[in-house]
Amino acid sequence: MTGLEILPADILTISSAGLLIATFGVVVRRGFADWLSAYRYQTIVLAGVTAVIAYYTGVWEIYVAAALTLVIKAVVIPRVLVRVTRKIKDEFKIEANPYVGLRLSVLISALLVALSYALTQQMLSSSSLDVVAMTCLPVSVSLFFIGLFVIVSRRMALNQVVGLLIIENGLFLFTTALTHGVSLVIEIGIFADILVGVVISAILLFRISQTFDTLDIGSLEKLRDD
């Protein structure tokens, strides 16, 4: 174990950077297919990071979580999304006119990453953290913030789903890094919720595109108080 201690930590650092790069992939692109491949890449790296954490901590349940991540989130969810959105017109899949321009988005995302590092340093410095937590926590909080930012700054409903998925990846990394795996039952419950949630949102997306003939959520404004 002692001889290997440095190596997994390096892998963690490098792959955490990979996670951030993939997230920026969503921020800078305009097309749904690009977001989806960035998300898939992000999730594969996440599964890798999880496996390293499993190796590092020696908790077998985290291996299971890594495998589930790979199968459900890197394979099943993108497929479901592609299949359900096949009938949606291509023009609805492009973020032509986001609320916040792409260049500014990149800048804000970078600031959010910096903020995440500052916050996690400040909050958790008092308690003793291991290498896994030190490396992964700021990244996971960054994913959470950037996912939130994507949801509020984009007009296309598909992009909001991708934002939710990024948030969820951030949460998963956060949970695994901080607690080295809550119990497997809960992990499976969370996975099931996500899977069902994605299926439902995909059905809703299709309905919106049919009924409103757009996926621009800026034009969903039937429900008002006046």
């Binding site: 308690s127 949460l171 949970t175 809550v182 119990s183 969370i190 919106i208 409103f212 969903l220 108080d225």
Partner: protein, 527 residues
């Protein structure tokens, strides 16, 4: 030898019976959903759902009886856990679930006759209805806070499906906003929950059981205060979104007004309680770590803002169901404020208020469902003279409305009176006075709409009823559930039954010290 065996059996008897009760209660809606799926017929689905819901109610009442005598019940080791606090939340789930399953037969039947919904969708409705009840039942019986989170997230997903049943534009829009906002909110709650777990593990708890509420509360004095502060804020924002606390309530009026009416009753009367319940569980832990002040003041703040925003929205509201939805924001705000006030009467009042609201709001939704069928609109300006066109429904609508705005001698007056007097009594003058002022605005706004709808005369001059409308209430199946609820509204206005008093008193103790002192075996962190 035999003596020993009987002694053992005696010792084990009560817990075994009650954990069997708990499990079979959870299985009732599962059986309902399976029966609906197998039968695939409208009539069979109605009967199966009503039967499973009544079974659930009977089992839940038995279970609550057991909680009153035993104080706590657990099953599957420590996975399921029901104490007096859970029981107070369980009662409306089972009660309103049952009443709503009866009203569904009439309401959805009418929708079916008017071709607003087809055979396939009506089966889906009853499947969803049963599963929705199941997911809500999981909330008060989960000891593990992770499981509770999974259950609450599942309630969102199922209720989104129920709202999506209609293909109307407005329903789809409401479903989308609800799904996105509630899911983002709940991701905050999960962050917070993990923080609590982490704090508990670093305080030396066994990781296997560190996610359990009982464990967190027992350890609450040892948790890292800095982490708990952040964790509670995350949980409050997250579950507060789902509980409709302002300013995170924006999805609520849309979702609650666009859902099928029996589901609106469940969303407003029951599901909001489940989310408030989650917040308060964490509030108890946080109070153990930081003292009551930190989380109480946050709850008070959000509560007062909620009541205020609801007051403005109710006053200027045009849509009947949206008005009722905003009134739910108001009442959840009142519950939050009451818990913020704390003390025996604050907590007692909050719990009573949860139950009172869970009775009065479904009554209002059911009546509004029948009314909007009759008048074919939800716009309040189009609805006049209900008391003439539907005498029974009109009278019940009036009773419910008077109760909702807190008029004596109805039930909500009692809890609001308790809450406000505990607020003034504990020296919280500013929030108490603000809430009182907002309640006056709500009273004025709500009554203005209510009186015009019930007693106003139709636009056509000289006629007592709008053109082409017969003087007729909806069928018995629509009226009976409302009569039951209105009866409870009146009865609870005069006295609080002994078992309910006992439950609420026990919960006030739980808030004080984590568990009821009567059975000090496991004990909480004693305050």
């Amino acid at each position: 030898m035999t003596e020993m065996l009987t002694a053992l059996a005696d010792a084990a008897a009560l817990p075994t019976v009650s954990s069997a009760l708990l499990l079979s209660m959870l299985l009732a809606p599962v059986a309902g959903a399976v029966a609906v799926t197998v039968s695939r017929k409208k009539r069979a689905a109605e009967v199966a759902t009503a039967a499973s819901a009544s079974l659930m109610l009977v089992l839940a009442v038995a279970l609550i009886g057991a909680v009153i005598s035993e104080k706590r019940i657990s099953a599957f080791g420590e996975l399921f856990y029901l104490d007096s606090f859970g029981a107070v939340v369980l009662l409306p789930i089972a009660g309103v679930g049952f009443i709503s399953s009866l009203y569904s037969i009439s309401y959805m039947g009418r929708q079916y006759e008017h071709d607003l919904i087809d055979d396939r969708r009506i089966i889906r409705y009853y499947q969803g209805f049963n599963i929705f009840l199941l997911t809500m039942l999981f909330v008060p019986v989960s000891n593990n806070m992770g499981t509770m989170w999974v259950a609450i997230e599942a309630t969102t997903l199922v209720s989104v499906l129920l709202i999506m049943l209609y293909t109307k534009e407005s329903a789809i829009e409401a479903a989308w906003k609800y799904l996105i906002i509630a899911t983002v909110g709940l991701s905050f709650a999960l962050f917070g929950t993990v923080f609590f777990y982490y704090a508990n593990v670093t305080a030396g708890a066994d990781p296997e059981s560190a996610m359990n509420w009982t464990g967190m509360v027992a350890n609450s004095k040892l948790l890292d205060p800095n982490i708990i502060k952040v964790a509670f804020v995350f949980v409050l924002v997250g579950l507060g979104t789902k509980a409709g606390l302002a300013p995170m309530h924006t999805w609520l009026p849309d979702a609650h007004s666009e859902a099928p009416t029996p589901v609106s009753a469940l969303l407003s009367g029951v599901l909001l309680n489940c989310s408030i319940y989650g917040i308060l569980r964490f509030h108890i832990i946080t109070s153990g770590t930081l003292g009551a002040e930190f989380s109480s003041q946050l709850l008070m703040l959000l509560g007062v803002v909620s009541v205020g925003i609801a007051a403005a929205s109710i006053y200027f509201q045009k849509d009947m169901k949206r008005m009722l939805a905003y009134s739910s924001v108001e009442h959840m705000g009142i519950v939050a404020v009451a818990v913020g006030f704390g003390g025996f009467f604050g907590i007692y009042g909050a719990l009573l208020h949860i139950i009172n609201h869970a009775i009065a709001k479904p009554l209002m939704f059911f009546a509004s469902g029948s009314i909007s069928h009759k008048y074919e609109t939800k716009a309040m300006s189009e609805i006049r003279g209900i008391i003439k066109s539907m005498p029974v429904t009109g009278a019940l609508f009036l009773i419910g409305g008077l109760a909702i705005v807190g008029m004596p001698p109805f039930n909500i007056f009692v809890s609001e009176f308790l809450i406000l007097s505990s607020g003034f009594g504990s020296g919280q003058f500013l929030p108490s006075a603000l809430v009182m002022a907002f309640l006056v605005v709500i009273f004025a706004g709500f009554m203005r709409h209510l009186v015009r709808m019930v007693f106003g005369s139709p636009k056509e001059p000289g006629k007592r009823l709008p053109a082409g409308m017969a003087k007729e209430d909806e069928g018995r199946l629509a009226v009976v559930p409302m009569v039951i609820l209105a009866g409870l509204v009146v009865v609870l206005g005069f006295y609080v039954p002994q078992p309910l008093q006992e439950l609420a008193g026990d919960v006030a103790q739980i808030f004080g010290q984590g568990s009821v002192a009567v059975s000090p075996v496991e004990g909480g962190a004693s305050g």
